[in-house]
Amino acid sequence: MDTTWDSLAGVRRWSAVLGAAATATILYGLWMVFFWVPTERTMGIVQRIFYLHVPSAWVAFLAFGIVALCSLGYLWLKDPRLDAIAVSAAEQGLVFTTIVLITGPLWGKLAWGAWWVWEPRLTLTLLLWFIYAGYFMLRGAAESPERGKRFAAILGVVGAVDIPLIHVSVNWWRSQHPQPVILRPEGATADPEIVRTLMVWLLGLTLLFFALLLARYGAERLGERVETLRLRGGSRRPAPHSQGVSV
Protein backbone atom coordinates (compact mmCIF):
# COMPACT_ATOMS: atom_id res chain seq x y z
CA MET A 1 0.00 0.00 0.00
CA ASP A 2 1.64 3.23 -1.13
CA THR A 3 -0.66 5.56 0.80
CA THR A 4 -0.26 5.81 4.55
CA TRP A 5 -3.44 6.57 6.41
CA ASP A 6 -3.71 7.72 9.97
CA SER A 7 -5.06 4.96 12.18
CA LEU A 8 -8.69 5.18 13.18
CA ALA A 9 -8.24 2.75 16.07
CA GLY A 10 -7.97 5.61 18.57
CA VAL A 11 -11.14 7.20 17.25
CA ARG A 12 -13.00 3.92 17.61
CA ARG A 13 -11.66 3.30 21.11
CA TRP A 14 -12.64 6.76 22.35
CA SER A 15 -16.03 6.48 20.73
CA ALA A 16 -16.63 3.25 22.64
CA VAL A 17 -15.39 4.73 25.94
CA LEU A 18 -17.56 7.85 25.57
CA GLY A 19 -20.48 5.74 24.42
CA ALA A 20 -20.26 3.56 27.53
CA ALA A 21 -20.04 6.64 29.75
CA ALA A 22 -23.00 8.22 27.94
CA THR A 23 -25.08 5.05 28.34
CA ALA A 24 -24.34 4.87 32.06
CA THR A 25 -25.09 8.60 32.56
CA ILE A 26 -28.33 8.47 30.59
CA LEU A 27 -29.51 5.32 32.42
CA TYR A 28 -28.79 7.09 35.71
CA GLY A 29 -30.59 10.17 34.34
CA LEU A 30 -33.62 8.07 33.38
CA TRP A 31 -33.73 6.64 36.88
CA MET A 32 -33.58 10.19 38.29
CA VAL A 33 -36.37 11.41 36.01
CA PHE A 34 -38.74 8.55 36.71
CA PHE A 35 -38.04 7.66 40.34
CA TRP A 36 -36.02 10.32 42.09
CA VAL A 37 -36.73 13.92 41.06
CA PRO A 38 -39.89 15.42 42.62
CA THR A 39 -42.71 16.51 40.34
CA GLU A 40 -42.57 20.22 39.59
CA ARG A 41 -45.36 22.00 41.47
CA THR A 42 -46.96 24.32 38.89
CA MET A 43 -46.41 22.36 35.69
CA GLY A 44 -46.86 18.86 37.00
CA ILE A 45 -45.63 15.68 35.39
CA VAL A 46 -45.18 17.19 31.92
CA GLN A 47 -42.24 19.24 33.11
CA ARG A 48 -40.15 16.04 33.09
CA ILE A 49 -39.84 16.24 29.32
CA PHE A 50 -37.52 19.19 29.90
CA TYR A 51 -34.74 16.84 30.97
CA LEU A 52 -34.58 15.65 27.36
CA HIS A 53 -35.70 18.89 25.68
CA VAL A 54 -33.24 21.41 27.12
CA PRO A 55 -30.06 19.28 26.80
CA SER A 56 -31.06 18.35 23.23
CA ALA A 57 -31.28 22.03 22.38
CA TRP A 58 -27.87 22.59 23.94
CA VAL A 59 -26.34 19.73 21.93
CA ALA A 60 -28.01 20.99 18.73
CA PHE A 61 -26.42 24.41 19.16
CA LEU A 62 -23.08 22.89 20.19
CA ALA A 63 -23.21 20.83 16.99
CA PHE A 64 -23.93 23.95 14.98
CA GLY A 65 -20.93 25.72 16.54
CA ILE A 66 -18.71 22.77 15.60
CA VAL A 67 -20.11 22.72 12.06
CA ALA A 68 -19.37 26.45 11.72
CA LEU A 69 -15.81 26.26 13.06
CA CYS A 70 -14.90 23.16 11.05
CA SER A 71 -16.50 24.64 7.92
CA LEU A 72 -14.42 27.78 8.25
CA GLY A 73 -11.35 25.64 8.85
CA TYR A 74 -12.16 23.45 5.85
CA LEU A 75 -12.52 26.40 3.50
CA TRP A 76 -9.19 27.68 4.74
CA LEU A 77 -7.05 24.55 5.09
CA LYS A 78 -8.86 22.12 2.73
CA ASP A 79 -8.28 19.35 5.25
CA PRO A 80 -10.82 16.57 4.59
CA ARG A 81 -10.75 15.65 8.28
CA LEU A 82 -12.37 18.98 9.14
CA ASP A 83 -15.13 18.31 6.64
CA ALA A 84 -15.66 14.84 8.10
CA ILE A 85 -16.08 16.38 11.57
CA ALA A 86 -18.45 19.04 10.21
CA VAL A 87 -20.71 16.57 8.44
CA SER A 88 -20.74 14.26 11.48
CA ALA A 89 -21.73 17.16 13.73
CA ALA A 90 -24.35 18.41 11.25
CA GLU A 91 -26.03 15.01 11.12
CA GLN A 92 -26.41 15.01 14.87
CA GLY A 93 -27.54 18.62 14.79
CA LEU A 94 -30.36 17.53 12.51
CA VAL A 95 -31.28 14.68 14.89
CA PHE A 96 -31.17 16.78 18.05
CA THR A 97 -33.07 19.76 16.56
CA THR A 98 -35.70 17.19 15.53
CA ILE A 99 -35.88 15.97 19.15
CA VAL A 100 -36.28 19.58 20.34
CA LEU A 101 -39.01 20.19 17.78
CA ILE A 102 -40.89 17.06 18.86
CA THR A 103 -40.56 17.47 22.64
CA GLY A 104 -41.25 21.24 22.57
CA PRO A 105 -44.79 21.00 21.12
CA LEU A 106 -45.57 17.97 23.33
CA TRP A 107 -44.85 20.12 26.35
CA GLY A 108 -46.39 23.23 24.78
CA LYS A 109 -49.73 21.53 24.18
CA LEU A 110 -50.14 20.98 27.91
CA ALA A 111 -48.40 24.08 29.23
CA TRP A 112 -49.49 26.67 26.66
CA GLY A 113 -52.58 24.96 25.32
CA ALA A 114 -51.18 25.04 21.78
CA TRP A 115 -48.98 22.63 19.85
CA TRP A 116 -46.95 25.40 18.34
CA VAL A 117 -46.14 28.81 19.77
CA TRP A 118 -43.70 31.19 18.06
CA GLU A 119 -41.53 31.25 21.12
CA PRO A 120 -38.12 32.74 20.12
CA ARG A 121 -36.00 29.74 21.09
CA LEU A 122 -38.34 27.24 19.49
CA THR A 123 -38.50 29.40 16.35
CA LEU A 124 -34.72 29.62 16.22
CA THR A 125 -34.49 25.82 16.53
CA LEU A 126 -36.96 25.43 13.67
CA LEU A 127 -34.88 27.69 11.41
CA LEU A 128 -31.73 25.86 12.49
CA TRP A 129 -33.43 22.63 11.41
CA PHE A 130 -34.10 24.11 7.97
CA ILE A 131 -30.48 25.24 7.64
CA TYR A 132 -29.27 21.74 8.59
CA ALA A 133 -31.69 20.22 6.09
CA GLY A 134 -30.38 22.56 3.39
CA TYR A 135 -26.83 21.57 4.37
CA PHE A 136 -27.49 17.94 3.46
CA MET A 137 -29.53 18.69 0.33
CA LEU A 138 -26.70 20.90 -0.92
CA ARG A 139 -24.09 18.25 -0.17
CA GLY A 140 -26.05 15.59 -1.96
CA ALA A 141 -26.92 17.67 -4.99
CA ALA A 142 -23.46 19.05 -5.80
CA GLU A 143 -21.88 17.97 -9.08
CA SER A 144 -18.82 16.48 -7.39
CA PRO A 145 -18.15 15.40 -3.79
CA GLU A 146 -15.42 18.04 -3.52
CA ARG A 147 -17.87 20.78 -4.48
CA GLY A 148 -20.44 19.36 -2.11
CA LYS A 149 -18.02 19.65 0.79
CA ARG A 150 -17.07 23.20 -0.13
CA PHE A 151 -20.66 24.36 -0.66
CA ALA A 152 -21.82 22.77 2.58
CA ALA A 153 -18.97 24.54 4.36
CA ILE A 154 -20.07 27.87 2.85
CA LEU A 155 -23.58 27.28 4.18
CA GLY A 156 -22.11 26.33 7.56
CA VAL A 157 -20.24 29.64 7.80
CA VAL A 158 -23.11 31.78 6.48
CA GLY A 159 -25.52 30.03 8.84
CA ALA A 160 -23.29 30.75 11.82
CA VAL A 161 -23.18 34.45 10.90
CA ASP A 162 -26.92 34.50 10.35
CA ILE A 163 -28.12 32.64 13.46
CA PRO A 164 -27.42 35.56 15.88
CA LEU A 165 -29.16 37.95 13.44
CA ILE A 166 -32.15 35.61 13.17
CA HIS A 167 -32.22 35.37 16.95
CA VAL A 168 -32.25 39.17 17.36
CA SER A 169 -34.91 39.65 14.69
CA VAL A 170 -37.18 36.89 16.00
CA ASN A 171 -36.92 38.34 19.50
CA TRP A 172 -37.76 41.78 18.15
CA TRP A 173 -40.68 40.37 16.16
CA ARG A 174 -41.99 38.56 19.24
CA SER A 175 -41.81 41.72 21.31
CA GLN A 176 -44.23 43.31 18.82
CA HIS A 177 -46.77 40.54 19.28
CA PRO A 178 -48.95 39.67 22.28
CA GLN A 179 -47.24 37.09 24.49
CA PRO A 180 -49.03 33.88 25.36
CA VAL A 181 -49.51 33.05 29.02
CA ILE A 182 -46.32 31.20 29.67
CA LEU A 183 -45.44 29.22 32.72
CA ARG A 184 -41.82 30.20 32.77
CA PRO A 185 -39.65 27.13 33.06
CA GLU A 186 -36.76 29.21 34.43
CA GLY A 187 -38.71 30.13 37.53
CA ALA A 188 -39.15 26.53 38.47
CA THR A 189 -35.60 25.28 38.22
CA ALA A 190 -34.55 26.66 41.58
CA ASP A 191 -35.19 23.25 43.15
CA PRO A 192 -31.72 21.68 43.53
CA GLU A 193 -32.97 18.19 42.66
CA ILE A 194 -34.37 19.44 39.38
CA VAL A 195 -31.14 21.26 38.60
CA ARG A 196 -29.11 18.15 39.39
CA THR A 197 -31.23 15.96 37.14
CA LEU A 198 -30.92 18.50 34.34
CA MET A 199 -27.13 18.56 34.81
CA VAL A 200 -26.92 14.77 34.60
CA TRP A 201 -28.88 14.88 31.35
CA LEU A 202 -26.71 17.67 29.98
CA LEU A 203 -23.65 15.57 30.71
CA GLY A 204 -25.25 12.40 29.34
CA LEU A 205 -26.35 13.89 26.02
CA THR A 206 -23.07 15.78 25.57
CA LEU A 207 -21.16 12.51 26.08
CA LEU A 208 -23.51 10.78 23.67
CA PHE A 209 -22.95 13.56 21.15
CA PHE A 210 -19.18 13.18 21.25
CA ALA A 211 -19.38 9.37 21.18
CA LEU A 212 -21.58 9.47 18.08
CA LEU A 213 -19.45 12.25 16.58
CA LEU A 214 -16.34 10.09 16.79
CA ALA A 215 -18.15 6.98 15.54
CA ARG A 216 -19.59 8.88 12.61
CA TYR A 217 -16.26 10.55 11.91
CA GLY A 218 -14.57 7.16 11.77
CA ALA A 219 -17.23 5.88 9.38
CA GLU A 220 -16.88 8.95 7.16
CA ARG A 221 -13.10 8.57 6.94
CA LEU A 222 -13.44 4.86 6.29
CA GLY A 223 -15.95 5.58 3.53
CA GLU A 224 -13.46 7.94 1.89
CA ARG A 225 -10.77 5.25 1.99
CA VAL A 226 -13.07 2.64 0.49
CA GLU A 227 -13.93 5.10 -2.27
CA THR A 228 -10.24 5.81 -2.96
CA LEU A 229 -9.40 2.11 -3.05
CA ARG A 230 -12.38 1.31 -5.24
CA LEU A 231 -11.37 3.97 -7.76
CA ARG A 232 -7.78 2.76 -7.74
CA GLY A 233 -8.70 -0.93 -7.96
CA GLY A 234 -11.30 -0.24 -10.62
CA SER A 235 -8.68 1.10 -13.00
CA ARG A 236 -6.74 -2.17 -12.83
CA ARG A 237 -9.49 -4.72 -12.90
CA PRO A 238 -13.19 -4.37 -12.16
CA ALA A 239 -14.41 -6.10 -9.04
CA PRO A 240 -16.31 -9.33 -9.90
CA HIS A 241 -19.66 -8.04 -8.69
CA SER A 242 -19.50 -4.76 -10.61
CA GLN A 243 -18.96 -6.28 -14.06
CA GLY A 244 -22.56 -5.93 -15.05
CA VAL A 245 -22.59 -2.23 -14.28
CA SER A 246 -19.29 -1.23 -15.90
CA VAL A 247 -19.68 0.88 -19.01
Binding site: A133, G134, M137, A141, R150, V158
Partner: protein, 232 residues
Protein backbone atom coordinates in the same frame (compact mmCIF):
# COMPACT_ATOMS: atom_id res chain seq x y z
CA UNK B 1 -13.80 42.23 -20.24
CA UNK B 2 -12.43 45.64 -19.60
CA UNK B 3 -10.71 44.86 -16.31
CA UNK B 4 -7.13 45.30 -17.51
CA UNK B 5 -4.39 44.32 -15.09
CA UNK B 6 -4.03 47.11 -12.60
CA UNK B 7 -7.55 48.32 -13.13
CA UNK B 8 -8.82 49.52 -9.80
CA UNK B 9 -11.09 47.29 -7.75
CA UNK B 10 -14.11 49.51 -8.37
CA UNK B 11 -13.45 49.50 -12.11
CA UNK B 12 -13.40 45.69 -12.01
CA UNK B 13 -16.70 45.62 -10.10
CA UNK B 14 -18.21 47.97 -12.63
CA UNK B 15 -16.90 45.98 -15.60
CA UNK B 16 -18.62 42.82 -14.34
CA UNK B 17 -21.84 44.65 -13.46
CA UNK B 18 -21.85 46.41 -16.81
CA UNK B 19 -21.49 43.09 -18.64
CA UNK B 20 -24.48 41.59 -16.79
CA UNK B 21 -26.59 44.72 -17.23
CA UNK B 22 -25.79 44.94 -20.94
CA UNK B 23 -26.81 41.30 -21.38
CA UNK B 24 -30.01 41.99 -19.48
CA UNK B 25 -30.72 45.21 -21.38
CA UNK B 26 -30.43 43.32 -24.67
CA UNK B 27 -32.49 40.24 -23.78
CA UNK B 28 -34.63 41.62 -20.93
CA UNK B 29 -35.66 38.02 -20.27
CA UNK B 30 -35.01 37.97 -16.52
CA UNK B 31 -36.58 41.36 -15.96
CA UNK B 32 -39.74 40.54 -17.91
CA UNK B 33 -40.09 37.12 -16.28
CA UNK B 34 -39.61 38.50 -12.75
CA UNK B 35 -41.92 41.47 -13.21
CA UNK B 36 -44.65 39.37 -14.80
CA UNK B 37 -44.37 36.78 -12.06
CA UNK B 38 -44.49 39.51 -9.38
CA UNK B 39 -47.64 41.09 -10.79
CA UNK B 40 -49.18 37.62 -11.06
CA UNK B 41 -48.43 37.00 -7.39
CA UNK B 42 -50.21 40.26 -6.56
CA UNK B 43 -53.19 39.11 -8.62
CA UNK B 44 -53.19 35.69 -6.94
CA UNK B 45 -53.05 37.39 -3.53
CA UNK B 46 -56.04 39.56 -4.36
CA UNK B 47 -58.07 36.50 -5.34
CA UNK B 48 -57.01 34.54 -2.28
CA UNK B 49 -57.87 37.26 0.25
CA UNK B 50 -61.42 37.48 1.48
CA UNK B 51 -62.01 41.28 1.59
CA UNK B 52 -64.79 40.90 4.16
CA UNK B 53 -62.44 39.11 6.56
CA UNK B 54 -59.18 41.06 6.22
CA UNK B 55 -58.25 44.43 4.76
CA UNK B 56 -55.46 44.16 2.22
CA UNK B 57 -54.04 47.38 3.61
CA UNK B 58 -53.31 45.67 6.94
CA UNK B 59 -51.14 42.96 5.34
CA UNK B 60 -49.71 44.83 2.34
CA UNK B 61 -46.19 44.98 3.82
CA UNK B 62 -46.12 41.21 4.20
CA UNK B 63 -47.52 40.56 0.71
CA UNK B 64 -45.07 42.95 -0.94
CA UNK B 65 -41.99 41.41 0.65
CA UNK B 66 -43.12 37.85 0.02
CA UNK B 67 -43.51 38.89 -3.63
CA UNK B 68 -40.08 40.57 -3.75
CA UNK B 69 -38.34 37.53 -2.27
CA UNK B 70 -40.11 35.02 -4.52
CA UNK B 71 -39.73 37.04 -7.70
CA UNK B 72 -36.12 37.89 -6.81
CA UNK B 73 -35.26 34.25 -6.13
CA UNK B 74 -36.84 33.27 -9.44
CA UNK B 75 -34.58 35.66 -11.33
CA UNK B 76 -31.47 34.93 -9.28
CA UNK B 77 -31.44 31.39 -10.55
CA UNK B 78 -30.61 32.73 -13.98
CA UNK B 79 -27.83 34.96 -12.68
CA UNK B 80 -25.27 32.16 -12.98
CA UNK B 81 -27.12 29.78 -15.25
CA UNK B 82 -26.16 32.10 -18.09
CA UNK B 83 -22.48 31.89 -17.16
CA UNK B 84 -22.64 28.12 -17.06
CA UNK B 85 -23.85 27.93 -20.64
CA UNK B 86 -20.97 27.91 -23.12
CA UNK B 87 -18.69 27.84 -20.07
CA UNK B 88 -18.57 31.63 -19.84
CA UNK B 89 -17.67 31.28 -16.16
CA UNK B 90 -14.25 29.90 -17.07
CA UNK B 91 -13.72 33.00 -19.19
CA UNK B 92 -14.68 35.19 -16.27
CA UNK B 93 -12.36 33.30 -13.96
CA UNK B 94 -9.30 33.70 -16.17
CA UNK B 95 -10.09 37.39 -16.70
CA UNK B 96 -7.91 39.68 -14.57
CA UNK B 97 -10.71 40.29 -12.10
CA UNK B 98 -10.48 39.57 -8.40
CA UNK B 99 -12.99 37.06 -7.07
CA UNK B 100 -14.40 39.60 -4.64
CA UNK B 101 -14.85 42.15 -7.44
CA UNK B 102 -16.54 39.49 -9.55
CA UNK B 103 -19.01 38.86 -6.72
CA UNK B 104 -19.67 42.55 -6.10
CA UNK B 105 -20.21 43.16 -9.82
CA UNK B 106 -22.76 40.34 -10.01
CA UNK B 107 -24.38 41.64 -6.82
CA UNK B 108 -24.58 45.18 -8.20
CA UNK B 109 -26.19 43.99 -11.43
CA UNK B 110 -28.70 41.94 -9.42
CA UNK B 111 -29.51 44.96 -7.22
CA UNK B 112 -30.23 47.07 -10.30
CA UNK B 113 -32.39 44.36 -11.90
CA UNK B 114 -34.33 43.49 -8.73
CA UNK B 115 -34.63 47.24 -8.03
CA UNK B 116 -36.31 47.60 -11.41
CA UNK B 117 -38.67 44.76 -10.51
CA UNK B 118 -39.46 46.47 -7.19
CA UNK B 119 -40.30 49.60 -9.16
CA UNK B 120 -43.04 47.47 -10.75
CA UNK B 121 -44.12 45.63 -7.59
CA UNK B 122 -44.83 48.68 -5.42
CA UNK B 123 -47.02 50.51 -7.98
CA UNK B 124 -48.75 47.22 -8.85
CA UNK B 125 -49.72 46.68 -5.23
CA UNK B 126 -50.71 50.33 -4.85
CA UNK B 127 -52.95 49.93 -7.91
CA UNK B 128 -54.54 46.58 -7.07
CA UNK B 129 -55.11 47.21 -3.38
CA UNK B 130 -55.63 50.98 -3.38
CA UNK B 131 -52.56 51.71 -1.25
CA UNK B 132 -50.87 55.10 -0.90
CA UNK B 133 -47.75 55.84 1.10
CA UNK B 134 -47.68 59.33 2.67
CA UNK B 135 -45.38 61.57 0.61
CA UNK B 136 -43.17 62.33 3.61
CA UNK B 137 -42.39 58.64 4.14
CA UNK B 138 -40.97 58.04 0.65
CA UNK B 139 -37.26 58.66 1.46
CA UNK B 140 -37.53 56.28 4.43
CA UNK B 141 -39.34 53.72 2.26
CA UNK B 142 -36.62 53.95 -0.40
CA UNK B 143 -33.95 53.46 2.27
CA UNK B 144 -35.78 50.39 3.63
CA UNK B 145 -36.18 48.93 0.14
CA UNK B 146 -32.54 49.53 -0.73
CA UNK B 147 -31.07 48.09 2.48
CA UNK B 148 -33.38 45.06 2.42
CA UNK B 149 -32.62 44.39 -1.26
CA UNK B 150 -28.87 44.79 -0.71
CA UNK B 151 -28.87 42.20 2.09
CA UNK B 152 -31.23 39.83 0.26
CA UNK B 153 -29.09 39.87 -2.87
CA UNK B 154 -25.79 39.51 -1.03
CA UNK B 155 -26.96 36.08 0.16
CA UNK B 156 -28.93 35.56 -3.05
CA UNK B 157 -25.96 36.11 -5.37
CA UNK B 158 -23.70 33.84 -3.30
CA UNK B 159 -26.19 30.97 -3.21
CA UNK B 160 -27.21 31.45 -6.84
CA UNK B 161 -23.55 30.77 -7.63
CA UNK B 162 -23.62 27.73 -5.36
CA UNK B 163 -26.92 26.37 -6.70
CA UNK B 164 -25.79 26.77 -10.32
CA UNK B 165 -23.17 24.07 -9.64
CA UNK B 166 -25.65 21.52 -8.31
CA UNK B 167 -27.89 19.02 -10.03
CA UNK B 168 -31.00 20.53 -8.45
CA UNK B 169 -30.02 24.01 -9.58
CA UNK B 170 -32.71 26.59 -9.16
CA UNK B 171 -34.96 24.28 -7.14
CA UNK B 172 -32.46 24.29 -4.31
CA UNK B 173 -32.04 28.08 -4.18
CA UNK B 174 -35.22 29.05 -2.25
CA UNK B 175 -34.71 26.19 0.21
CA UNK B 176 -31.25 27.48 1.06
CA UNK B 177 -32.17 31.17 0.98
CA UNK B 178 -35.48 31.53 2.78
CA UNK B 179 -34.43 30.43 6.29
CA UNK B 180 -31.43 32.74 6.09
CA UNK B 181 -33.57 35.67 4.96
CA UNK B 182 -35.93 35.69 7.96
CA UNK B 183 -34.39 38.92 9.37
CA UNK B 184 -35.00 40.71 6.05
CA UNK B 185 -38.60 39.48 5.97
CA UNK B 186 -39.27 40.60 9.53
CA UNK B 187 -37.76 44.07 9.38
CA UNK B 188 -38.60 45.02 5.81
CA UNK B 189 -42.26 44.04 5.96
CA UNK B 190 -42.79 45.67 9.35
CA UNK B 191 -41.13 48.93 8.22
CA UNK B 192 -43.06 48.96 4.92
CA UNK B 193 -46.31 48.33 6.76
CA UNK B 194 -45.74 51.05 9.35
CA UNK B 195 -44.83 53.63 6.74
CA UNK B 196 -47.93 52.66 4.77
CA UNK B 197 -50.31 53.28 7.65
CA UNK B 198 -48.70 56.67 8.30
CA UNK B 199 -46.70 56.03 11.46
CA UNK B 200 -43.89 58.55 12.03
CA UNK B 201 -40.65 57.85 10.16
CA UNK B 202 -38.72 57.73 13.44
CA UNK B 203 -40.64 54.56 14.28
CA UNK B 204 -38.90 52.55 11.57
CA UNK B 205 -35.39 53.72 12.51
CA UNK B 206 -34.57 50.51 14.39
CA UNK B 207 -35.75 48.31 11.50
CA UNK B 208 -33.71 50.38 9.06
CA UNK B 209 -30.62 50.05 11.25
CA UNK B 210 -31.06 46.27 11.43
CA UNK B 211 -31.54 45.99 7.67
CA UNK B 212 -28.44 48.09 7.04
CA UNK B 213 -26.43 45.95 9.48
CA UNK B 214 -27.70 42.74 7.83
CA UNK B 215 -26.77 44.10 4.40
CA UNK B 216 -23.27 45.17 5.42
CA UNK B 217 -22.51 41.96 7.33
CA UNK B 218 -23.50 39.70 4.44
CA UNK B 219 -22.00 41.87 1.74
CA UNK B 220 -18.70 41.44 3.55
CA UNK B 221 -19.14 37.73 4.43
CA UNK B 222 -20.35 36.71 0.99
CA UNK B 223 -17.64 38.67 -0.83
CA UNK B 224 -15.07 36.84 1.29
CA UNK B 225 -16.67 33.42 0.69
CA UNK B 226 -17.29 33.77 -3.03
CA UNK B 227 -13.80 32.62 -3.96
CA UNK B 228 -14.65 29.20 -2.50
CA UNK B 229 -17.66 28.87 -4.81
CA UNK B 230 -15.60 29.22 -7.97
CA UNK B 231 -12.55 27.12 -7.06
CA UNK B 232 -12.00 24.08 -9.20
Amino acid sequence: MRGEPGASYLAQVWAVARKDLLLEARSRERLVAMATFAVLVAVVFSFSIDPTAVRARSIAGAMIWVTVLFAGTLGLGRSFALEREADALTGLMVAPVERGALFLGKWLANVVIVGAVEAVIFPAYALFFGLAWPAGSLPALLAVVFCATAGFLALGTLFAGVAAHTRMGETLLPILLLPLLIPVVIFASSATQRLLVGRPVAEVASQLRMLAAFGLIFLFTCTALFGSVLEE
